[in-house]
Symmetry: C2
Subunit: 289 residues, 2 copies
Amino acid sequence: MIVVPGPSSVDLGKRIAKLISARTVDLDYKNFPDGESYLRLSGSVEGEDIVLVQTTYPQQDKRLVELLLIIDALKDLGARRVRAVVPYMAYARQDTRFREGEAVSIRTLFRLIEAAGADEFYTVDVHKEATLQALGIKARNLLGTEVISEHLMALGLKDPYVLSPDKGAIMIAKRVAERLGAECGNFEKTRDRITGAITVKGEAADVRGRDAVLVDDMISTGGTIANAARILKEWGARRVLAACTHPLLVPGAFERMREAGVDEVLGTDTVSSPVSRISVAPLIAKELR
Amino acid sequence: MIVVPGPSSVDLGKRIAKLISARTVDLDYKNFPDGESYLRLSGSVEGEDIVLVQTTYPQQDKRLVELLLIIDALKDLGARRVRAVVPYMAYARQDTRFREGEAVSIRTLFRLIEAAGADEFYTVDVHKEATLQALGIKARNLLGTEVISEHLMALGLKDPYVLSPDKGAIMIAKRVAERLGAECGNFEKTRDRITGAITVKGEAADVRGRDAVLVDDMISTGGTIANAARILKEWGARRVLAACTHPLLVPGAFERMREAGVDEVLGTDTVSSPVSRISVAPLIAKELR
């Protein structure tokens, strides 16, 4: 087995390789002056069982095109099997036609990953697991809550209360709450599909003097977390932590959450960020062995 | 027949629609804060014959992903036939494995365009026409030299001498020279595949007091054109014009050419740029009718 760390997941790829005692074949990559990517495998992959690790953030489209180009190149260069590990899968929120005429982007992208030649697909906390059904190949959604829970347990939280900032993350929050042996609740978020405006509301939870942990699959603008954090502080929470699998954290997101009273933001290395202190490498390694 | 102008070719798409007297269905598109594209067709395409116009520069990867998402959405929404018009096709220079291990990017992308559901493919002055063979669907490479020659003829050039700045553009230069009834020559360029350094040399052409016209399929950094222009001015050319189909013109390219003595830069609207004064709309419209 050979691990190929893609341009967007060099560190994570190397970590996974170490855990499964596999060697790596590095990719030479650069950008031409006009913005095109150049990709070249630095060693032979002929007849080999390949694990390609390539996340798709930031620069979703650039990372996706690289992913597709590398998969096809690997097969073309004679790889026996290509397992595509995409720790964060972009466009997963566009999983249905919310309004007539919309592209169902994630379905198209899964079809293209398959068409490019991937034999298996692995991701972590995809927005909705059912979207993987668009793939005709073996597909696995790994649960980031496993490594997040372990990390939270080591923090010595005070009587923690786990909450999801919207309905979409209830399952994730429940899994974390169970591992922590903590209470669990949720807020409700409504998003205007046209203006994008977000409203958050929830039933009062007894968080007075306790550590509230907001858990979500991804944090992008931080707006949903900020709204929930403000409410939790009003309700008397001692500390508010925000933990997620995918810390997309667009510019200003971190500051927005801090200002709303979030004391700590935690994420995994499915996406590189200043808060990516939890590695999903053990999770992925276990699945690949 | 309905024309769908893609986000990267709104003006060109509308121009083509007008020439073939077809109505357009516009695309609503925006970027989410984290960089993902949102795409939605604003009208019905069910049972229709669709011409999708979407170039792939600048932001090659973003434009390519949009192209693939729109093609699939059109088919999914019931379009009877989708003709993908990609005036400038990115990655066309990576058409072979120059070094062991390289991705043959253009081949992969053509396979994906087909996999997404395109029924026909049209482009203008693709880097090498033979690359179109990777497509299993009807594929046409239109000659931008037709509209470029017409434009040049109207300029009243003085005893023009047409030259290609390297061997790759000899055919294009010859076609322009023939239409202008002008002499034709070429420079030779060598590019170091690793460092990217470019050397240009040529046999002395009798350009003294005449208008020299450098013709190429694309101008990216302008380095090749600048090198050739310097030589032409040394040889006594009265004016040096640089004409191309695809004016990619990365930052600094225009200034680089001006400093080397290029008096005028001309390009077509396969790519939007300040020098895109020649439209390929008539060329494409003629082929679609």
